[in-house]
Amino acid sequence: MNPFDFKRLIKGEDKDKKISLLLTDLASLEDYINDLLNFSPLPICFVSPLGVILETNPAFEKTSGFPSEEIIGESVEKIFDKQEIARLAKETFSQGLVAAKEISLLKKDGSTIITQVFTRVRVDEQSRSIGYFLGLFDLSGIKKTEEELRKIQEALLNILEDTEEARKRAEEEKDKTQAIITNFTDGLLFFDKNHNLALINPKAEGFFDIDKEKLIGKSIKEVSAYPGLSQLVAFLGKEIKKVSRKEFIVRENFILEVSVISMKANNVDIGDLVVLHDVSREKTVERLKTEFVSLAAHQLRTPLSAIKWSIQMILDGDLGRVAQEQKNILGKTYQSNERMINLINDLLNLARIEEGKYVISPAPVDIIKTCEEAIDIVSESMRGKNIKFTFIKSTEKPIKVFADEEKLKLVIQNLLDNAFKYTPKGGRVVLSLKETLKNVRVEVKDNGMGIAKNEQDRVFSKFFRTREAVLAEPAGSGLGLYMAKNIIESHNGQIGFVSEEGKGTTFYFTMPKKDLKPV
């Protein structure tokens, strides 16, 4: 016999059966309620009217972090903000329920999560409130996602703002660049890496009387078909050769100085920029100046020649005896007149050079002989100044060059004359002549005053004289080296110098032994 079946011994059997059945039903009901609470994924608790937690389900324990034995019997204020939960309880008791209200939940680990709570009041048989159920929905995941989305949105907005700002900046830069290109005083053409015309500025349009709309995107071959541009394309070549400040005559009195610059971006070729600088005015002024110099020089040379011969006649006594004192004065006048004639000759030569009328008449020339003739002219002066002069040649045989003998002699004489003038008494001048397979190199070396470093760049410019040179020899024209350079380059040769101030200078030039190309 079951020891707990004692009731059946003392009570009526039917009544006991019914009670037993009811108790079994109650137990089943209790199990059902427990199962329901345990199953619910929604955190649920029951709160007494005094604000004490009386029941929790596993989901609630998981969300709050409190096991049931730690949270049941505790004030609901342990997990919710005192004021928030008081307002919620008041609303629940007054309205019977609260739906979807956001409230912070303080977890056991001290962290806070945002929850959405739902409450419903519980009443007894006399409709008295005896507490309320509280279900909550953990919004932390949603809030976290919301926060992440907000941050992403913020980041995207920032990126968009940055992009917009960058776009505006790029736009501004583009506008600036466009304005610069549009208003640039030089003409600009840009050919991309495939040699298609990508840009023409208004100045270039004006130069060639063309419409950029018809030309942009066209290949260089197509561009060459336009009458205004065919000459330029021929000048640049199909491959657009790199040139620097090279003159290009568009038509009479319209001269452009053309430079082609290879453009790179991140070390990658992106195309070629053709810069067209209008030098017509400068060239006209230069031409007029040259013409004036030429005219003035011609006009001056005749009276100066007359003066020369008149003084010569007086000095020779053709017009009677001349006293020594008068002779001295006339001698100095004669020398001054001579310098003026030389200067006029230099100016005429200069004018010829600039007008392109300085004709070179090349013929086979023995450069040793030419050197010796030049030496003859200056040797007397050298001796007078006690300068030790040496002529060194690599061979005794004639060295033939194809040159204009007079002009070649003029160059050598000029270099020797400079060495003489700027070398002190008792100094040393060496003329050396070296023959290589293709060239002849002529060097004039002195141990004179030398040329200051900061003046060396301008030595071959016309009318330029170094400060020391002017002090040492006020009479120079500053045209000798300019002409020498023009003459040597007209012979396809090269001229240069090395110099150290106070120690001396070596001027040199090279000339090809054969194959002088017509200039």
Partner: protein, 201 residues
């Protein structure tokens, strides 16, 4: 607390105590064992009960049904023997009983206010036990103490600790304050009744 070896004779003696108690009083004690000692611990209790001639199964205990009062005393004595629980543990078991008792959840209407809870306490007792009379001798809200007297009830000393924890916890939930207490009079100490003094801040 002195360790007590429970024999069949002692068990029969416990079972001879008159009166009945709701199954919930048994079940909450065993739930404590389940939480603290796990399934194995619970199995030990079931085996020991069977060994003593009362093969009670945890899952078969009906919380609303009435069981012999002596079974409560026997169950507690068995738990004390098996797991060597002391006075404080049984106070804690009493506290836990409040948290897990279905009765408290069912009869929540008595916790609407401290006054109502005090008024309903004697009735609540009788909903748990068929014997014994619980009286509220003093309930001083201002000074923060209460005196509870239990007359005509004498089960086992362990049960006295259990009740101390139980009363303290209920009072904590009513007053929402930490409650400390002591049993100042006890039938097992030669007094005519049990008297608990409970105070809170």
């Amino acid at each position: 607390m002195e360790r007590e070896k429970i024999t069949r004779e002692k068990a029969q003696k416990f079972m001879s105590i008159p009166g009945e108690a709701r199954g919930v009083t048994l079940k909450v004690d065993w739930e404590y064992v389940l939480k603290k000692e796990g399934e194995q611990g619970l199995k030990k209790v079931e085996e020991k009960m069977a060994e003593l001639g009362y093969p009670l199964k945890f899952n078969e205990i009906k919380t609303m049904d009435f069981y012999p009062l002596g079974l409560d005393a026997l169950s507690m004595a068995v738990i004390a023997e098996l797991f060597n629980y002391d006075k404080d543990t049984f106070i804690e078991i009493g506290e836990m009983a409040v948290k897990f008792s279905i009765f408290l959840k069912v009869f929540l209407k008595y916790f609407v206010s401290p006054q109502q809870a005090v008024a309903e306490a004697p009735k609540m007792w009788r909903k748990h036990y068929s014997t014994g009379d619980l009286k509220i001798i003093e309930f001083n809200m201002d000074k923060g103490y209460a005196v509870l007297r239990l007359e005509n009830f004498s089960l086992h000393k362990i049960h006295c600790y259990n009740l101390l924890g139980y009363f303290s916890k209920i009072l904590e939930m009513i007053m929402k304050a930490k409650v400390t207490g002591e049993e100042r009079k006890c039938t097992f100490e030669g007094d005519k009744y049990h008297e608990y003094f409970l105070k809170w801040k």
